[in-house]
Symmetry: C2
Subunit: 199 residues, 2 copies
DNA sequence: CGAAATACATACCGCTCGGTATATATTTTA
DNA sequence: TAAAATATATACCGAGCGGTATGTATTTCG
């Protein structure tokens, strides 16, 4: 049993609300006052539970990847390269086209450009994106080995290209693009994909 | 002749330096102290010359579009839809791959996500991006009329897709992507373009 | 029952934010 | 040469920033 006075708020619920805030306003754009207001807790409680703003953001990013970003590992487990690409693109469209979510992608606009004091978070986001791209690259390398992509295909270039389209969809979504808009982008990108749907 | 004491700094040079700052750190991430330091002028001088931070940012955005974004109208004046797409993609790669520029695109990350106090700027950036997409759409509509795109091509979808790839390249660049990386993305996107290079 | 441990509430810290009031310096016009 | 106009320099404004010290309430352990 946990000793001492038990906390009076639900940490999971608090994280959920913090995620929503950071998702909507980014790291720099979200203040501690915003957070304590939305979470309904006081500042010392927040610090006791989560450390500080940076640490809270990291927890939130973790949660974001596990929930909103769950379509990514699922997409990578598809059987063909085309299906991987399709699920990634359609998954991003579904996520960012869902208006019950904040507009855009936390991983993209969470700390894309910011002042020097947020530089650490910015760099962490960069390496998160890089890791995502690398996972796609790895999957497409395997696809090429399996003959699932043409011999002249470049898995690294395709992975980077796919990542770019996903990021672009996030920017479009931040600008208010609809689910239909985003699915059109996904569809258009798939039209040019180098392997056929059936292979 | 201008009456009164003449200003002691070069407004064009000041704008250039302000652009560099906003380009690197975004709107919210750039403080007045950053600006006055970099511009070498005092706060009242900045306000007398440019109004306030928002107005200065608008001037900077104007300058950005006229210089860094000059490749866009040039690309739209190309003779074929394929050439339009190629010049847009290669132009973005050249711009964001040039390491003498700040990483990323001011129009994308200048105010992608921010607190409520920067909401106006954020919305203006959204409509700027939307205007850019619309210009591409208009050009591709013409291309279709001219038989320069297949009959089943969707100019609106293609324009949105192209915009997404351009935004995605900006995000990649903000993460440190090289000119080579970005040109690979451009090349990959062109591989799937629905009209041939020669038509 | 203490005593230790934890959480809550209030009030505060130094610092930075965007923006400005006031006074002085430098120019042109009359 | 005086007045009007503009620019500069200094010092300051209230507000918000992330973060914390202090005191009190509530729990478990001995």
């Amino acid at each position: 049993m946990a000793r001492g006075r038990p906390r009076e708020f639900d940490a999971e619920l608090a994280l959920e609300r913090a995620m929503e805030l950071f998702w909507r306003q980014g790291y720099e754009g979200t203040s501690l006052a915003d957070l304590t207001d939305a979470l309904g807790i006081t500042r010392p409680s927040l610090y006791a539970a989560f450390g500080n703003k940076e640490a809270l953001f990291r927890r939130v990013l973790e949660r974001y990847e596990a929930r909103a970003g769950a379509y990514r590992p699922r997409a990578l487990s598809a059987l063909t390269a085309y299906e991987v690409a399709r699920r990634l693109l359609e998954g991003a469209a579904a996520l960012h086209g869902d208006k019950s979510n904040p507009a855009g992608c936390l991983g993209v606009h969470g700390a894309l450009a910011c002042g020097p004091e947020s530089g650490r978070i910015r760099e962490e986001m960069i390496s998160h994106r890089s890791a995502g791209e690398q996972a796609i690259r790895k999957r497409l390398r395997r696809a090429k080995q399996e003959g699932d992509l043409p011999p002249d295909a470049d898995p690294a270039a395709l992975a980077r290209y796919l990542s770019a389209v996903l990021y672009g969809m996030a920017v479009l979504a931040a600008g208010g693009a609809s689910l239909r808009d985003l699915r059109e982008v996904a569809h258009t990108a798939l039209q040019g994909w180098p392997s056929s749907p059936r292979n």
